[in-house]
Amino acid sequence: MNDTARPTLLPWFIAPAALVAMLLIAALAMLFQYSFREHLPGTLEVGGVTLENFADLGKWLYLRVFFDTLTISAWTALCSLLLGYPLALALVRCRSRSLKAAILIAVIIPMFTGDIVRTYSWLIVLGTRGFINGTLLGLGVIERPFALLFTQTAVIAALVQYSLPVIVVILAAAISHINTDYEKAAESLGAGPLAVLWKVTLPLSMPGILSGTVTIFAWTMSAFATPQLVGGGKVNMVSNMVYHLGFASFNFPFAATLSMVSLLLIMAVLGLLGLCLKRLERKGFTG
Protein backbone atom coordinates (compact mmCIF):
# COMPACT_ATOMS: atom_id res chain seq x y z
CA MET A 1 0.00 0.00 0.00
CA ASN A 2 1.49 3.27 -1.14
CA ASP A 3 0.39 6.06 1.08
CA THR A 4 3.33 8.34 0.55
CA ALA A 5 3.11 8.32 -3.22
CA ARG A 6 -0.56 9.23 -3.55
CA PRO A 7 -1.27 9.91 -7.18
CA THR A 8 -2.55 13.36 -8.03
CA LEU A 9 -5.43 11.78 -9.92
CA LEU A 10 -6.76 10.02 -6.84
CA PRO A 11 -9.66 12.46 -6.36
CA TRP A 12 -10.88 11.54 -9.84
CA PHE A 13 -11.03 7.93 -8.82
CA ILE A 14 -13.08 8.64 -5.74
CA ALA A 15 -15.28 11.48 -6.95
CA PRO A 16 -17.91 9.43 -8.83
CA ALA A 17 -18.23 7.01 -5.94
CA ALA A 18 -18.46 9.89 -3.50
CA LEU A 19 -21.40 11.27 -5.48
CA VAL A 20 -23.16 7.92 -5.33
CA ALA A 21 -22.49 7.73 -1.61
CA MET A 22 -23.95 11.20 -1.12
CA LEU A 23 -27.04 10.22 -3.08
CA LEU A 24 -27.56 7.26 -0.81
CA ILE A 25 -27.14 9.37 2.31
CA ALA A 26 -29.57 11.92 0.87
CA ALA A 27 -32.21 9.23 0.34
CA LEU A 28 -31.83 8.04 3.93
CA ALA A 29 -31.92 11.62 5.15
CA MET A 30 -35.24 12.11 3.36
CA LEU A 31 -36.62 9.12 5.21
CA PHE A 32 -35.42 10.55 8.47
CA GLN A 33 -36.93 13.92 7.72
CA TYR A 34 -40.25 12.54 6.56
CA SER A 35 -40.77 10.45 9.65
CA PHE A 36 -41.09 13.63 11.65
CA ARG A 37 -43.69 15.16 9.39
CA GLU A 38 -47.42 15.00 9.74
CA HIS A 39 -49.49 13.02 7.32
CA LEU A 40 -52.30 14.99 5.69
CA PRO A 41 -54.86 12.33 4.80
CA GLY A 42 -55.89 12.16 1.18
CA THR A 43 -53.01 14.23 -0.13
CA LEU A 44 -49.37 13.79 -0.92
CA GLU A 45 -48.52 16.97 0.94
CA VAL A 46 -47.00 16.74 4.36
CA GLY A 47 -47.72 18.93 7.31
CA GLY A 48 -45.55 20.28 10.06
CA VAL A 49 -43.13 18.59 12.40
CA THR A 50 -44.63 16.02 14.71
CA LEU A 51 -43.74 13.00 16.77
CA GLU A 52 -47.07 11.35 16.07
CA ASN A 53 -45.58 8.76 13.73
CA PHE A 54 -43.41 7.41 16.49
CA ALA A 55 -46.35 7.31 18.87
CA ASP A 56 -48.28 5.31 16.27
CA LEU A 57 -45.53 2.71 16.33
CA GLY A 58 -46.78 1.60 19.71
CA LYS A 59 -50.16 0.55 18.34
CA TRP A 60 -50.71 -3.19 18.43
CA LEU A 61 -51.58 -3.27 14.73
CA TYR A 62 -48.07 -2.21 13.83
CA LEU A 63 -46.26 -3.92 16.69
CA ARG A 64 -47.83 -7.14 15.51
CA VAL A 65 -46.39 -6.67 12.04
CA PHE A 66 -42.94 -6.22 13.56
CA PHE A 67 -43.46 -9.30 15.70
CA ASP A 68 -44.55 -11.35 12.69
CA THR A 69 -41.55 -10.09 10.74
CA LEU A 70 -39.18 -11.18 13.49
CA THR A 71 -40.88 -14.57 13.81
CA ILE A 72 -40.77 -15.28 10.10
CA SER A 73 -37.16 -14.15 9.91
CA ALA A 74 -36.15 -16.38 12.80
CA TRP A 75 -37.80 -19.47 11.34
CA THR A 76 -36.34 -18.76 7.92
CA ALA A 77 -32.86 -18.44 9.38
CA LEU A 78 -33.16 -21.69 11.30
CA CYS A 79 -34.50 -23.73 8.38
CA SER A 80 -31.94 -22.23 6.01
CA LEU A 81 -29.21 -23.35 8.37
CA LEU A 82 -30.56 -26.90 8.60
CA LEU A 83 -30.85 -27.29 4.84
CA GLY A 84 -27.87 -25.15 3.98
CA TYR A 85 -25.22 -26.81 6.09
CA PRO A 86 -25.32 -30.17 4.27
CA LEU A 87 -25.27 -28.32 0.95
CA ALA A 88 -22.29 -26.26 2.00
CA LEU A 89 -20.48 -29.32 3.27
CA ALA A 90 -21.15 -31.13 -0.01
CA LEU A 91 -19.98 -28.12 -1.98
CA VAL A 92 -16.68 -27.86 -0.15
CA ARG A 93 -15.82 -31.51 0.27
CA CYS A 94 -16.93 -32.60 -3.17
CA ARG A 95 -14.02 -33.89 -5.18
CA SER A 96 -15.52 -33.59 -8.62
CA ARG A 97 -14.94 -30.16 -10.15
CA SER A 98 -17.94 -30.29 -12.44
CA LEU A 99 -20.28 -31.56 -9.74
CA LYS A 100 -19.13 -28.75 -7.51
CA ALA A 101 -19.85 -26.20 -10.23
CA ALA A 102 -23.23 -27.79 -10.91
CA ILE A 103 -24.27 -27.65 -7.25
CA LEU A 104 -23.06 -24.09 -6.98
CA ILE A 105 -24.93 -22.89 -10.06
CA ALA A 106 -28.10 -24.73 -9.02
CA VAL A 107 -28.00 -23.11 -5.60
CA ILE A 108 -27.04 -19.66 -6.86
CA ILE A 109 -29.59 -19.36 -9.64
CA PRO A 110 -32.54 -18.49 -7.35
CA MET A 111 -30.51 -15.61 -6.04
CA PHE A 112 -30.20 -14.06 -9.47
CA THR A 113 -33.55 -14.80 -11.09
CA GLY A 114 -35.15 -11.96 -9.18
CA ASP A 115 -37.88 -11.74 -6.56
CA ILE A 116 -40.83 -11.90 -8.91
CA VAL A 117 -39.87 -14.99 -10.90
CA ARG A 118 -38.85 -16.87 -7.82
CA THR A 119 -41.86 -15.93 -5.74
CA TYR A 120 -44.25 -16.59 -8.59
CA SER A 121 -42.92 -20.12 -8.98
CA TRP A 122 -43.96 -20.81 -5.40
CA LEU A 123 -47.50 -19.77 -6.27
CA ILE A 124 -47.48 -22.58 -8.77
CA VAL A 125 -45.96 -25.09 -6.38
CA LEU A 126 -48.41 -24.32 -3.58
CA GLY A 127 -51.55 -23.38 -5.52
CA THR A 128 -54.76 -25.38 -5.34
CA ARG A 129 -53.99 -26.89 -8.72
CA GLY A 130 -50.27 -26.54 -8.31
CA PHE A 131 -47.47 -29.00 -7.86
CA ILE A 132 -48.12 -30.29 -4.37
CA ASN A 133 -51.89 -30.45 -4.58
CA GLY A 134 -51.83 -31.69 -8.18
CA THR A 135 -49.44 -34.50 -7.39
CA LEU A 136 -51.26 -35.58 -4.24
CA LEU A 137 -54.63 -35.45 -6.01
CA GLY A 138 -53.25 -37.36 -8.95
CA LEU A 139 -51.81 -40.04 -6.70
CA GLY A 140 -55.11 -40.30 -4.92
CA VAL A 141 -53.64 -39.43 -1.54
CA ILE A 142 -56.11 -36.63 -0.94
CA GLU A 143 -59.56 -35.90 -2.27
CA ARG A 144 -59.61 -32.15 -2.11
CA PRO A 145 -56.76 -29.71 -2.42
CA PHE A 146 -55.21 -28.13 0.66
CA ALA A 147 -55.06 -24.40 1.03
CA LEU A 148 -51.30 -24.08 1.23
CA LEU A 149 -50.88 -20.55 0.02
CA PHE A 150 -51.31 -17.39 2.05
CA THR A 151 -50.00 -18.97 5.23
CA GLN A 152 -46.95 -18.10 7.27
CA THR A 153 -45.50 -21.55 6.59
CA ALA A 154 -45.73 -20.98 2.84
CA VAL A 155 -43.99 -17.65 3.15
CA ILE A 156 -41.24 -19.19 5.26
CA ALA A 157 -40.71 -22.04 2.79
CA ALA A 158 -40.38 -19.62 -0.10
CA LEU A 159 -38.06 -17.38 1.90
CA VAL A 160 -35.86 -20.34 2.80
CA GLN A 161 -35.36 -21.09 -0.87
CA TYR A 162 -34.39 -17.46 -1.35
CA SER A 163 -31.95 -17.53 1.55
CA LEU A 164 -30.25 -20.83 0.84
CA PRO A 165 -27.75 -19.42 -1.68
CA VAL A 166 -26.60 -16.81 0.79
CA ILE A 167 -26.21 -19.12 3.77
CA VAL A 168 -24.59 -21.84 1.68
CA VAL A 169 -22.00 -19.36 0.50
CA ILE A 170 -21.26 -18.13 4.01
CA LEU A 171 -21.13 -21.64 5.47
CA ALA A 172 -19.04 -22.98 2.59
CA ALA A 173 -16.52 -20.18 3.06
CA ALA A 174 -16.28 -21.03 6.76
CA ILE A 175 -16.02 -24.78 6.17
CA SER A 176 -13.40 -24.34 3.49
CA HIS A 177 -11.18 -22.56 5.98
CA ILE A 178 -11.14 -25.51 8.33
CA ASN A 179 -7.82 -27.24 8.21
CA THR A 180 -8.62 -30.78 7.10
CA ASP A 181 -5.71 -32.02 9.19
CA TYR A 182 -7.94 -31.81 12.26
CA GLU A 183 -10.49 -34.08 10.66
CA LYS A 184 -7.83 -36.49 9.48
CA ALA A 185 -6.35 -36.58 12.95
CA ALA A 186 -9.74 -37.42 14.41
CA GLU A 187 -10.23 -40.17 11.88
CA SER A 188 -6.83 -41.62 12.58
CA LEU A 189 -7.79 -41.75 16.25
CA GLY A 190 -10.79 -43.91 15.35
CA ALA A 191 -13.63 -41.41 15.06
CA GLY A 192 -16.39 -42.34 12.61
CA PRO A 193 -17.74 -39.74 10.18
CA LEU A 194 -20.56 -38.67 12.49
CA ALA A 195 -18.19 -38.09 15.38
CA VAL A 196 -15.84 -36.10 13.16
CA LEU A 197 -18.74 -33.96 12.04
CA TRP A 198 -20.10 -33.40 15.51
CA LYS A 199 -16.84 -32.93 17.37
CA VAL A 200 -14.55 -31.32 14.81
CA THR A 201 -16.26 -29.84 11.77
CA LEU A 202 -19.32 -28.30 13.41
CA PRO A 203 -17.52 -26.57 16.28
CA LEU A 204 -14.84 -25.23 13.95
CA SER A 205 -17.44 -23.82 11.62
CA MET A 206 -19.32 -22.12 14.45
CA PRO A 207 -18.37 -18.56 13.40
CA GLY A 208 -19.76 -19.34 9.96
CA ILE A 209 -22.92 -20.84 11.45
CA LEU A 210 -23.43 -17.80 13.62
CA SER A 211 -22.65 -15.40 10.81
CA GLY A 212 -24.86 -17.22 8.32
CA THR A 213 -27.86 -17.59 10.59
CA VAL A 214 -27.85 -14.00 11.79
CA THR A 215 -27.22 -12.68 8.29
CA ILE A 216 -30.25 -14.55 6.97
CA PHE A 217 -32.27 -13.30 9.92
CA ALA A 218 -31.38 -9.70 9.20
CA TRP A 219 -31.78 -10.13 5.47
CA THR A 220 -35.19 -11.76 5.69
CA MET A 221 -36.46 -8.81 7.65
CA SER A 222 -36.24 -6.82 4.43
CA ALA A 223 -38.23 -9.34 2.34
CA PHE A 224 -41.03 -7.88 0.27
CA ALA A 225 -42.09 -9.75 -2.86
CA THR A 226 -42.41 -13.12 -1.14
CA PRO A 227 -44.78 -12.07 1.62
CA GLN A 228 -46.58 -9.79 -0.81
CA LEU A 229 -47.44 -12.56 -3.25
CA VAL A 230 -47.23 -15.77 -1.26
CA GLY A 231 -48.76 -14.04 1.75
CA GLY A 232 -51.52 -12.59 -0.36
CA GLY A 233 -52.38 -9.86 2.11
CA LYS A 234 -52.87 -12.31 4.96
CA VAL A 235 -49.23 -12.52 5.94
CA ASN A 236 -47.74 -9.09 6.38
CA MET A 237 -44.20 -8.16 7.04
CA VAL A 238 -42.96 -4.63 7.62
CA SER A 239 -42.17 -4.14 3.93
CA ASN A 240 -45.73 -4.93 2.88
CA MET A 241 -47.05 -2.51 5.45
CA VAL A 242 -44.76 0.20 4.11
CA TYR A 243 -45.97 -0.43 0.57
CA HIS A 244 -49.58 -0.36 1.64
CA LEU A 245 -49.11 2.84 3.62
CA GLY A 246 -47.30 4.51 0.79
CA PHE A 247 -49.38 3.51 -2.18
CA ALA A 248 -52.80 2.82 -0.74
CA SER A 249 -53.02 5.44 1.99
CA PHE A 250 -50.34 7.83 0.70
CA ASN A 251 -49.17 8.03 4.28
CA PHE A 252 -45.53 8.48 3.37
CA PRO A 253 -44.48 9.96 6.71
CA PHE A 254 -45.46 6.83 8.56
CA ALA A 255 -44.09 4.63 5.79
CA ALA A 256 -40.81 6.47 6.21
CA THR A 257 -40.92 5.90 9.95
CA LEU A 258 -41.44 2.16 9.51
CA SER A 259 -38.70 1.98 6.88
CA MET A 260 -36.27 3.75 9.12
CA VAL A 261 -37.07 1.63 12.15
CA SER A 262 -36.61 -1.54 10.08
CA LEU A 263 -33.24 -0.32 8.92
CA LEU A 264 -32.18 0.49 12.48
CA LEU A 265 -33.33 -2.92 13.71
CA ILE A 266 -31.35 -4.67 11.00
CA MET A 267 -28.27 -2.60 11.76
CA ALA A 268 -28.63 -3.42 15.44
CA VAL A 269 -28.90 -7.14 14.74
CA LEU A 270 -25.88 -7.08 12.45
CA GLY A 271 -23.95 -4.95 14.94
CA LEU A 272 -24.62 -7.53 17.64
CA LEU A 273 -23.41 -10.24 15.27
CA GLY A 274 -20.20 -8.31 14.72
CA LEU A 275 -19.63 -8.10 18.46
CA CYS A 276 -20.26 -11.81 18.97
CA LEU A 277 -17.92 -12.72 16.15
CA LYS A 278 -15.20 -10.54 17.66
CA ARG A 279 -15.66 -12.35 20.97
CA LEU A 280 -15.37 -15.71 19.21
CA GLU A 281 -12.24 -14.52 17.47
CA ARG A 282 -10.66 -13.59 20.76
CA LYS A 283 -11.42 -17.07 22.04
CA GLY A 284 -9.35 -18.50 19.25
CA PHE A 285 -11.72 -19.14 16.36
CA THR A 286 -10.53 -17.83 13.04
CA GLY A 287 -12.28 -17.38 9.71
Binding site: P16, P86, I109, S121, R129
Partner: protein
Amino acid sequence: MTMADRIAKPAFIALVAVALAFVTLPSVVVVIVAFGEKSIMMFPPDAWSLRWFERALTYPDFRKGMVNGLYVSAWASLLSVAVGTLAAYAIDRFAFKGRALLEAILLSPLVIPHFTLGVGLLLLASTFGLARGYSVVVLCHLILVVPFVMRSVYVSLKNIDPMLERAAASLGAPPLTVFLRIHLPLLAPGLAGGWLFAFILSFNEFTATLFVTNNTTQTLPVAMYNYVREYADPTMAALSALLILATALFLIIANRFLGLDRILSIESHR
Protein backbone atom coordinates in the same frame (compact mmCIF):
# COMPACT_ATOMS: atom_id res chain seq x y z
CA MET B 1 -17.81 -47.93 12.81
CA THR B 2 -21.18 -47.90 14.44
CA MET B 3 -24.48 -48.51 12.70
CA ALA B 4 -25.06 -44.77 12.55
CA ASP B 5 -21.73 -44.21 10.84
CA ARG B 6 -22.55 -46.77 8.21
CA ILE B 7 -25.67 -44.98 7.09
CA ALA B 8 -24.10 -41.56 7.58
CA LYS B 9 -22.77 -41.16 4.07
CA PRO B 10 -25.89 -42.35 2.20
CA ALA B 11 -28.07 -40.30 4.55
CA PHE B 12 -25.93 -37.26 3.89
CA ILE B 13 -26.20 -37.69 0.15
CA ALA B 14 -29.96 -38.11 0.49
CA LEU B 15 -30.19 -34.94 2.56
CA VAL B 16 -28.16 -33.00 0.02
CA ALA B 17 -30.38 -34.33 -2.75
CA VAL B 18 -33.49 -33.22 -0.88
CA ALA B 19 -32.02 -29.77 -0.32
CA LEU B 20 -31.08 -29.46 -3.99
CA ALA B 21 -34.55 -30.63 -5.00
CA PHE B 22 -36.06 -27.99 -2.72
CA VAL B 23 -33.97 -25.30 -4.36
CA THR B 24 -34.63 -26.31 -7.95
CA LEU B 25 -38.16 -27.66 -7.71
CA PRO B 26 -40.03 -24.38 -8.17
CA SER B 27 -38.09 -23.53 -11.35
CA VAL B 28 -38.74 -26.98 -12.79
CA VAL B 29 -42.44 -26.77 -11.97
CA VAL B 30 -42.70 -23.36 -13.62
CA VAL B 31 -41.17 -24.64 -16.82
CA ILE B 32 -43.53 -27.60 -16.94
CA VAL B 33 -46.64 -25.52 -16.23
CA ALA B 34 -45.62 -23.03 -18.92
CA PHE B 35 -46.28 -25.65 -21.55
CA GLY B 36 -49.83 -26.29 -20.35
CA GLU B 37 -52.66 -25.71 -22.74
CA LYS B 38 -55.50 -24.59 -20.48
CA SER B 39 -55.79 -21.02 -19.32
CA ILE B 40 -55.61 -21.96 -15.67
CA MET B 41 -52.37 -23.00 -14.09
CA MET B 42 -52.39 -26.66 -13.37
CA PHE B 43 -49.87 -29.30 -12.57
CA PRO B 44 -49.45 -31.53 -14.31
CA PRO B 45 -50.95 -29.99 -17.42
CA ASP B 46 -53.39 -32.28 -19.21
CA ALA B 47 -52.67 -30.80 -22.62
CA TRP B 48 -49.61 -29.14 -24.04
CA SER B 49 -49.19 -25.94 -25.98
CA LEU B 50 -46.76 -23.18 -26.77
CA ARG B 51 -49.35 -20.46 -26.82
CA TRP B 52 -48.41 -18.92 -23.51
CA PHE B 53 -44.87 -18.38 -24.74
CA GLU B 54 -46.30 -16.57 -27.71
CA ARG B 55 -48.48 -14.42 -25.50
CA ALA B 56 -45.59 -13.71 -23.14
CA LEU B 57 -43.43 -12.48 -25.98
CA THR B 58 -46.12 -10.32 -27.56
CA TYR B 59 -47.94 -8.84 -24.57
CA PRO B 60 -47.35 -5.07 -24.83
CA ASP B 61 -46.67 -4.43 -21.15
CA PHE B 62 -44.02 -7.15 -21.10
CA ARG B 63 -42.40 -5.77 -24.22
CA LYS B 64 -42.31 -2.27 -22.78
CA GLY B 65 -41.01 -3.66 -19.52
CA MET B 66 -38.30 -5.58 -21.34
CA VAL B 67 -37.17 -2.49 -23.24
CA ASN B 68 -37.21 -0.36 -20.11
CA GLY B 69 -35.35 -3.05 -18.22
CA LEU B 70 -32.65 -3.34 -20.85
CA TYR B 71 -32.24 0.42 -20.97
CA VAL B 72 -32.06 0.87 -17.20
CA SER B 73 -29.84 -2.15 -16.64
CA ALA B 74 -27.44 -1.23 -19.41
CA TRP B 75 -26.93 2.21 -17.92
CA ALA B 76 -26.86 1.04 -14.33
CA SER B 77 -24.41 -1.78 -14.98
CA LEU B 78 -22.03 0.30 -17.10
CA LEU B 79 -22.03 3.19 -14.66
CA SER B 80 -21.58 0.86 -11.71
CA VAL B 81 -18.59 -0.82 -13.34
CA ALA B 82 -16.99 2.57 -13.97
CA VAL B 83 -17.75 3.98 -10.52
CA GLY B 84 -17.17 0.74 -8.65
CA THR B 85 -13.89 -0.16 -10.32
CA LEU B 86 -12.33 3.25 -9.75
CA ALA B 87 -13.53 3.36 -6.16
CA ALA B 88 -12.55 -0.21 -5.30
CA TYR B 89 -9.13 0.29 -6.85
CA ALA B 90 -8.53 3.51 -4.94
CA ILE B 91 -9.83 2.08 -1.66
CA ASP B 92 -7.76 -1.05 -2.03
CA ARG B 93 -4.49 0.57 -3.02
CA PHE B 94 -4.34 3.95 -1.35
CA ALA B 95 -5.01 5.43 2.03
CA PHE B 96 -6.96 8.66 2.19
CA LYS B 97 -9.11 10.50 4.64
CA GLY B 98 -12.62 9.07 4.82
CA ARG B 99 -11.65 5.84 3.11
CA ALA B 100 -13.36 3.56 5.60
CA LEU B 101 -16.48 5.72 5.66
CA LEU B 102 -16.75 5.82 1.88
CA GLU B 103 -16.33 2.08 1.65
CA ALA B 104 -18.93 1.49 4.35
CA ILE B 105 -21.48 3.71 2.63
CA LEU B 106 -20.86 2.19 -0.79
CA LEU B 107 -21.21 -1.36 0.52
CA SER B 108 -24.18 -0.59 2.76
CA PRO B 109 -26.89 -1.41 0.16
CA LEU B 110 -26.02 -5.03 0.91
CA VAL B 111 -27.75 -4.62 4.25
CA ILE B 112 -30.27 -1.88 3.57
CA PRO B 113 -33.72 -3.23 2.79
CA HIS B 114 -34.60 -2.54 -0.81
CA PHE B 115 -37.98 -1.15 0.18
CA THR B 116 -36.29 1.33 2.52
CA LEU B 117 -34.05 2.52 -0.27
CA GLY B 118 -36.98 2.60 -2.66
CA VAL B 119 -39.08 4.80 -0.40
CA GLY B 120 -36.13 7.07 0.33
CA LEU B 121 -35.28 7.58 -3.32
CA LEU B 122 -38.92 8.08 -4.21
CA LEU B 123 -39.23 10.82 -1.61
CA LEU B 124 -35.94 12.36 -2.72
CA ALA B 125 -36.96 12.31 -6.37
CA SER B 126 -40.38 13.86 -5.78
CA THR B 127 -38.91 16.58 -3.59
CA PHE B 128 -36.48 17.54 -6.31
CA GLY B 129 -38.93 17.14 -9.15
CA LEU B 130 -37.26 14.13 -10.72
CA ALA B 131 -40.57 12.44 -10.12
CA ARG B 132 -40.16 8.86 -11.27
CA GLY B 133 -38.41 9.27 -14.57
CA TYR B 134 -35.77 6.92 -15.88
CA SER B 135 -32.92 8.64 -14.05
CA VAL B 136 -34.30 7.75 -10.63
CA VAL B 137 -34.50 4.10 -11.62
CA VAL B 138 -31.00 4.06 -13.06
CA LEU B 139 -29.58 5.76 -9.96
CA CYS B 140 -31.49 3.37 -7.71
CA HIS B 141 -30.07 0.35 -9.48
CA LEU B 142 -26.63 1.94 -9.56
CA ILE B 143 -26.64 2.25 -5.77
CA LEU B 144 -27.87 -1.30 -5.33
CA VAL B 145 -25.41 -2.88 -7.70
CA VAL B 146 -22.13 -1.05 -6.95
CA PRO B 147 -21.31 -3.27 -3.92
CA PHE B 148 -21.24 -6.35 -6.15
CA VAL B 149 -18.98 -4.71 -8.66
CA MET B 150 -16.63 -3.57 -5.91
CA ARG B 151 -16.45 -7.06 -4.49
CA SER B 152 -15.63 -8.48 -7.91
CA VAL B 153 -12.85 -5.94 -8.27
CA TYR B 154 -11.45 -6.71 -4.82
CA VAL B 155 -11.29 -10.40 -5.65
CA SER B 156 -9.65 -9.73 -9.00
CA LEU B 157 -7.12 -7.35 -7.46
CA LYS B 158 -6.11 -9.97 -4.93
CA ASN B 159 -5.18 -12.29 -7.75
CA ILE B 160 -2.81 -9.87 -9.47
CA ASP B 161 0.82 -10.49 -8.72
CA PRO B 162 2.15 -7.42 -6.89
CA MET B 163 5.53 -7.96 -8.49
CA LEU B 164 4.11 -6.80 -11.80
CA GLU B 165 3.19 -3.46 -10.30
CA ARG B 166 6.58 -3.05 -8.66
CA ALA B 167 8.37 -3.97 -11.84
CA ALA B 168 6.46 -1.33 -13.74
CA ALA B 169 7.09 1.25 -11.03
CA SER B 170 10.77 0.43 -10.95
CA LEU B 171 10.86 1.06 -14.69
CA GLY B 172 9.53 4.55 -14.02
CA ALA B 173 5.79 4.17 -14.55
CA PRO B 174 3.67 6.65 -12.58
CA PRO B 175 0.63 5.23 -10.73
CA LEU B 176 -1.84 6.17 -13.46
CA THR B 177 0.18 4.31 -16.08
CA VAL B 178 0.37 1.30 -13.77
CA PHE B 179 -3.39 1.41 -13.48
CA LEU B 180 -4.06 1.80 -17.18
CA ARG B 181 -1.42 -0.46 -18.65
CA ILE B 182 -0.98 -3.14 -15.98
CA HIS B 183 -4.00 -3.43 -13.74
CA LEU B 184 -6.86 -2.62 -16.08
CA PRO B 185 -5.97 -5.27 -18.65
CA LEU B 186 -5.47 -7.85 -15.91
CA LEU B 187 -8.72 -6.86 -14.24
CA ALA B 188 -10.64 -7.15 -17.49
CA PRO B 189 -12.03 -10.68 -16.96
CA GLY B 190 -13.07 -9.78 -13.41
CA LEU B 191 -14.72 -6.62 -14.67
CA ALA B 192 -16.55 -8.56 -17.33
CA GLY B 193 -17.88 -10.93 -14.70
CA GLY B 194 -18.77 -8.03 -12.42
CA TRP B 195 -20.59 -6.29 -15.24
CA LEU B 196 -22.63 -9.40 -15.98
CA PHE B 197 -23.60 -9.78 -12.32
CA ALA B 198 -24.53 -6.11 -12.18
CA PHE B 199 -26.67 -6.42 -15.28
CA ILE B 200 -28.49 -9.53 -14.11
CA LEU B 201 -29.15 -8.10 -10.67
CA SER B 202 -30.40 -4.82 -12.09
CA PHE B 203 -32.62 -6.43 -14.72
CA ASN B 204 -34.29 -8.72 -12.22
CA GLU B 205 -34.56 -6.24 -9.35
CA PHE B 206 -38.12 -5.83 -8.19
CA THR B 207 -38.78 -4.35 -4.75
CA ALA B 208 -36.95 -1.03 -4.94
CA THR B 209 -37.97 -0.68 -8.58
CA LEU B 210 -41.63 -1.05 -7.68
CA PHE B 211 -41.33 2.04 -5.50
CA VAL B 212 -39.46 4.24 -7.96
CA THR B 213 -41.12 3.42 -11.27
CA ASN B 214 -44.46 4.34 -12.76
CA ASN B 215 -46.49 2.97 -15.67
CA THR B 216 -44.15 4.51 -18.20
CA THR B 217 -40.86 3.44 -16.72
CA GLN B 218 -41.79 0.09 -15.25
CA THR B 219 -39.28 -2.67 -15.81
CA LEU B 220 -40.11 -6.27 -16.61
CA PRO B 221 -40.39 -7.56 -13.01
CA VAL B 222 -42.79 -4.74 -12.15
CA ALA B 223 -44.85 -5.43 -15.27
CA MET B 224 -44.98 -9.07 -14.26
CA TYR B 225 -46.17 -8.16 -10.79
CA ASN B 226 -48.99 -6.05 -12.21
CA TYR B 227 -49.94 -8.89 -14.53
CA VAL B 228 -50.07 -11.49 -11.77
CA ARG B 229 -52.43 -9.33 -9.77
CA GLU B 230 -54.98 -9.39 -12.58
CA TYR B 231 -54.56 -12.60 -14.54
CA ALA B 232 -53.95 -16.16 -13.41
CA ASP B 233 -53.02 -17.82 -16.67
CA PRO B 234 -49.72 -19.51 -17.53
CA THR B 235 -48.37 -16.50 -19.46
CA MET B 236 -46.32 -15.57 -16.42
CA ALA B 237 -45.07 -19.13 -16.18
CA ALA B 238 -43.86 -18.97 -19.77
CA LEU B 239 -42.12 -15.65 -19.20
CA SER B 240 -40.58 -16.90 -15.96
CA ALA B 241 -39.32 -20.02 -17.70
CA LEU B 242 -37.61 -17.88 -20.32
CA LEU B 243 -36.08 -15.61 -17.68
CA ILE B 244 -34.83 -18.53 -15.59
CA LEU B 245 -33.16 -19.99 -18.65
CA ALA B 246 -31.62 -16.66 -19.60
CA THR B 247 -30.34 -16.07 -16.07
CA ALA B 248 -28.83 -19.54 -15.89
CA LEU B 249 -27.02 -18.95 -19.18
CA PHE B 250 -25.73 -15.57 -18.04
CA LEU B 251 -24.47 -17.07 -14.81
CA ILE B 252 -22.68 -19.90 -16.56
CA ILE B 253 -20.97 -17.37 -18.83
CA ALA B 254 -20.13 -15.07 -15.92
CA ASN B 255 -18.70 -18.06 -14.10
CA ARG B 256 -16.21 -18.58 -16.89
CA PHE B 257 -14.99 -14.98 -16.67
CA LEU B 258 -14.86 -14.75 -12.92
CA GLY B 259 -15.03 -18.07 -11.16
CA LEU B 260 -18.10 -17.93 -8.96
CA ASP B 261 -16.38 -20.03 -6.38
CA ARG B 262 -13.54 -17.57 -6.12
CA ILE B 263 -15.68 -14.50 -5.76
CA LEU B 264 -17.59 -16.30 -3.06
CA SER B 265 -14.29 -17.67 -1.66
CA ILE B 266 -15.31 -21.27 -1.26
CA GLU B 267 -12.27 -23.02 -2.61
CA SER B 268 -11.43 -26.00 -0.52
CA HIS B 269 -8.05 -25.84 1.11
CA ARG B 270 -6.70 -29.30 0.71
